[in-house]
């Protein structure tokens, strides 16, 4: 067990019928760093996210957040502990306005929440569109909205599922800058990504999954040359 690990996944296994999506996966995240989680399609990355956030019940293993076990908690409880996540397919609330999408997240005094929401909208230059129904926004705008929605609750650990997917270059750079700024504020970030440039450029440590198992872990440079990783992507 790593001291100061904000998130610890120990031997987590998840099966769906006959398929083992995640197989005795273990990883530890230290606070205040950016991590990457990569692997070929179907290697269990999103399932692992789901196990961490309570969307799926793991069949075996433990998940610890700041030392306390969170496996077995319901998703909203996990979220309230300080873990936020985005989804592979954008899941904003289409019939709520952008502002409302943000407002539903926190409790507390309405005015304070609204100010924070407006601040976040400004942060990603969506402030003109606050009263627009989220369903009417463009793909990129929705992506940004989902991103700041996660930040609304001020989570300590942020799980991003393919934040770069379908995003144009300018927007992407904005997002990456935002992520870096979050890390500088002390937040821990775990990113699932297929875009290798993003991963290699942003992440300090990268985990590689294949068929639900962790096959490699280390800094991007090392991962790129790791034999098992190359085999996983190209060798089958």
């Amino acid at each position: 067990m790593q001291a100061n690990a904000i998130l610890e996944v120990r031997d987590v296994t998840k099966r769906f019928g006959g398929v083992t999506a995640v197989n005795r996966c273990s990883l530890a995240l230290a606070q205040g760093k950016i991590y990457g989680l990569i692997g070929p399609n179907g290697s269990g990355k999103t399932t692992l996210f789901n196990c961490i956030t309570g969307l799926e019940r793991r069949d075996a293993g433990e998940v610890r957040f700041k030392g306390a076990r969170i496996d077995g908690l319901k998703p909203y409880q996990v979220a309230r502990r300080g873990i936020g996540r985005t989804f592979q397919i954008i899941r904003v609330f289409p019939e709520l306005t952008a502002l409302e999408n943000l407002l539903v997240v926190t409790g507390g005094p309405f005015e304070a929440a609204r100010r924070r929401a407006e601040e976040l909208l400004r942060f990603v230059t969506l402030d003109r569109l606050g009263n627009e129904y989220a369903g009417n926004l463009s793909y990129g705008q929705q992506k940004l909205l989902e991103f700041i929605r996660v930040l609304m609750a001020d989570p300590e650990l942020i799980l991003l599922d393919e934040p770069a997917a379908g995003v144009n270059r300018t927007l992407l750079n904005e997002l990456l800058a935002a992520i870096t700024r979050l890390r500088d504020q002390g937040k821990t970030i775990l990113i699932v990504e297929h875009d290798m440039k993003v991963v290699m450029g942003l992440c300090e440590t990268v985990f590689v999954l294949d068929y639900g198992e962790k096959i490699a872990e280390g800094p991007p440079g090392l991962i790129q040359t790791d034999e098992r990783v190359i085999e996983a992507y190209f060798g089958r």
């Binding site: 956030t53 969307l55 319901k74 998703p75 909203y76 979220a79 309230r80 936020g84 996540r85 989804f87 899941r91 904003v92 609330f93 289409p94 019939e95 709520l96 409302e100 407002l103 539903v104 997240v105 309405f110 929605r149 609304m152 609750a153």
Partner: protein, 306 residues
């Protein structure tokens, strides 16, 4: 714009309050029924319009309230006012008991379980004959004036509409809507969807219970088939849909429109009336599932509070 609307609303309420002075017995009965439908459609909207969980047996709360009130009045001599409120409480308790497990079910299964609930209640009521008079029904001592019931039912309709307004303009309401939009995402954002669903469900069951009790008092006689019919549930659903589910005024609009139509136009042609109703249902579902206000909202980007 808003001022004019509020003023118009005020005038309407005053008019409705003064109506019994000049109205005939038939007129009062008519308006009373109208209030009932508004209350029912609005109540259904609170759970199904907002959270998307289709309560397909909502009349179960109406019937339960009717019987609770009926028993209190007929057997225990309660006055109908507190008895009707207890009818509402009975509805809410039923919602609590059944909602807690059933709201965990997904879409179609929840709908079917509500249908099952309705039938179970109907049969239960028939079974406990000693308490409820079983199949032969329950009679209440005669009441010779519908006017107090008129006001009470009207009050119920106003109350539930006001509740809808308060909810839809609050964060509570927004969170209910996230359940409809994307329940998984809502949970991931820290919203305890199970609790919110239950609250909405309880709220949506209370007024039908009260209104059921008031109807029992007004009709003076209730029997299982009369207070648990699927058609009542369908009617309140179609009314809410027609006007626009998920909006504040939609269900009221739908209730008024369809009820007036029904009374004035269709009641003359008995069989045709039912077939027409079936046709209306089909038309609403296929051509205007968002309802009148829903369509207007989309077209003209109107605020949600209409």
């Amino acid at each position: 714009m808003k001022r004019a609307f509020i003023a118009a609303l005020g005038v309407l309420l005053v008019a409705l309050a003064l109506y019994p002075i000049t109205a005939t017995g038939y007129g009062i009965r008519f308006m009373l029924q109208l209030f009932m439908w508004v209350a029912l459609a609005q109540s259904w909207n609170l759970i199904s319009g907002l959270t998307g969980y289709v309560s397909f047996g909502h009349v179960a709360f109406f019937g339960t309230g009717a019987y609770a009130t009926g028993i209190l009045v007929a057997t225990h001599g309660w006055h109908w006012m507190p008895a009707s409120l207890m009818g509402g409480v009975a509805g809410a308790i039923l919602a609590l008991i059944i909602g807690y497990p059933c709201l965990r079910l997904k879409g179609p299964y929840f709908a079917i379980s509500m249908l099952g609930l309705n039938e179970v209640m109907r049969v239960l009521v028939s079974y406990f004959e000693g308490l409820t008079g079983g199949g032969s029904g329950l009679s209440l001592p005669a009441l010779h004036a519908s006017v107090p019931i008129y006001y009470a039912t009207g009050l119920a309709a106003v109350a539930v509409t006001a509740t809808a307004f308060l909810i839809i303009t609050s964060r509570f309401g927004l969170r209910l809507m996230t359940i409809r939009e994307d329940e998984v995402a809502a949970e991931a954002m820290g919203i305890d969807t199970a609790r919110y669903k239950l609250y909405a469900f309880l709220l949506s069951a209370f007024v039908p219970g009260v209104v059921g009790g008031l109807q029992a008092r007004d009709q003076g006689y209730i029997e299982p088939m009369a207070v648990f019919p699927l058609l009542t549930t369908i009617t309140m659903i179609v009314m809410a849909l027609f006007g626009g589910k998920g909006t504040v005024w939609g269900p009221a609009l739908g209730a008024v429109t369809l009820f007036v139509f029904q009374e004035l136009v269709w009641a003359r042609f008995l069989y045709l009336h039912q077939v027409l109703f079936g046709a209306i249902i089909i038309v609403v579902v296929l051509l205007m599932p968002r309802g009148i206000l829903g369509i207007l909202q989309q077209r003209y980007q109107l605020p949600r509070t209409i």
